[in-house]
Subunit: 159 residues, 2 copies
């Protein structure tokens, strides 16, 4: 479920959203900016897309439990939409389950740490352009919805 | 002054920010997304940058009064950073003051209307790429600051 409200009350966030919060905090410290729940193409919705200072595109999938990970049959579809792919899990997660050749971020609601860099498979220029533009539009729409909520409620753009 | 708070109380906004609000609402209906107070290059800060569905870059300067317009000695510097340039003013503004060859949006805090399209001078691909990326990073940083304010207060990223 989309959740773009300010995080005044962490109890309103799902476990995966708490991980995403810590991931975004950590990546911000690396000069990456993040959005959540971006749709790169029909049928895919990434937990976190991060955009680096040089236009790097990273995708991070947040898994709160073994069951959450094992029910994800789409993750390989994300690889072609990013330069690097990472899992984000908490310190209780059995990381041996995670496939080789993927990045790993350990996180909680407050911070995160890259413990294994995702291998780089550089996006083609045309696809990077599409992704940066999708990111820009996604971020600006969510920002406007937060800053001017009555307009968006009225026009139904968030329904 | 930056003002990224939700617009719960319009009395907290400056006259130019009220115009920007209506401009962004109108452009959203045209499938453009907007950010405010983006810095394309050192020494320039645009009131509104809008990004269209095909990557169009528009810049809109909001002028609340004759004096506000006449004290702007930088506007020609914005032309090279956008495909189209517009003024946004309210219905009391003496529009005959505005230079030829610029677009015009009539606006108030609630909506706006393009009454004269700004002439198109297409950005070179490399500059468009820079601008879309600046837009993306600006929007995402402001969004994260609103959603996770304690983090940003702590780290001082907004100071």
């Amino acid at each position: 479920m989309p959740n773009d409200l300010p995080h005044a009350d962490l109890t309103t966030l799902q476990p995966g959203q708490l991980l995403a919060r810590g991931v975004c905090r950590h990546l911000r410290a690396l000069d990456f900016v993040c959005v959540e729940e971006l749709v790169p193409t029909r049928g895919l919705r990434v937990d976190v897309m991060a955009l680096g200072p040089k236009g790097e595109v990273w995708i991070i999938e947040c898994k709160s439990s073994r069951a959450d990970f094992q029910s994800d049959h789409k993750w390989q579809g994300y690889l072609e939409w990013s330069d690097r792919f990472f899992w984000a899990v908490d310190s209780d997660f059995p990381t041996e389950l995670l496939p080789e050749g993927t990045g790993l971020i350990l996180a909680d609601a407050y911070d995160g740490e890259i413990v294994r860099m995702g291998p780089e498979t550089k996006l083609a220029a045309a696809r990077r352009k599409v992704m940066v533009q999708k990111f820009a539009r996604h971020a600006a729409m969510r920002l406007q919805a937060l800053r001017d909520p009555t307009h968006h409620l009225r026009s139904g753009l968030l329904t």
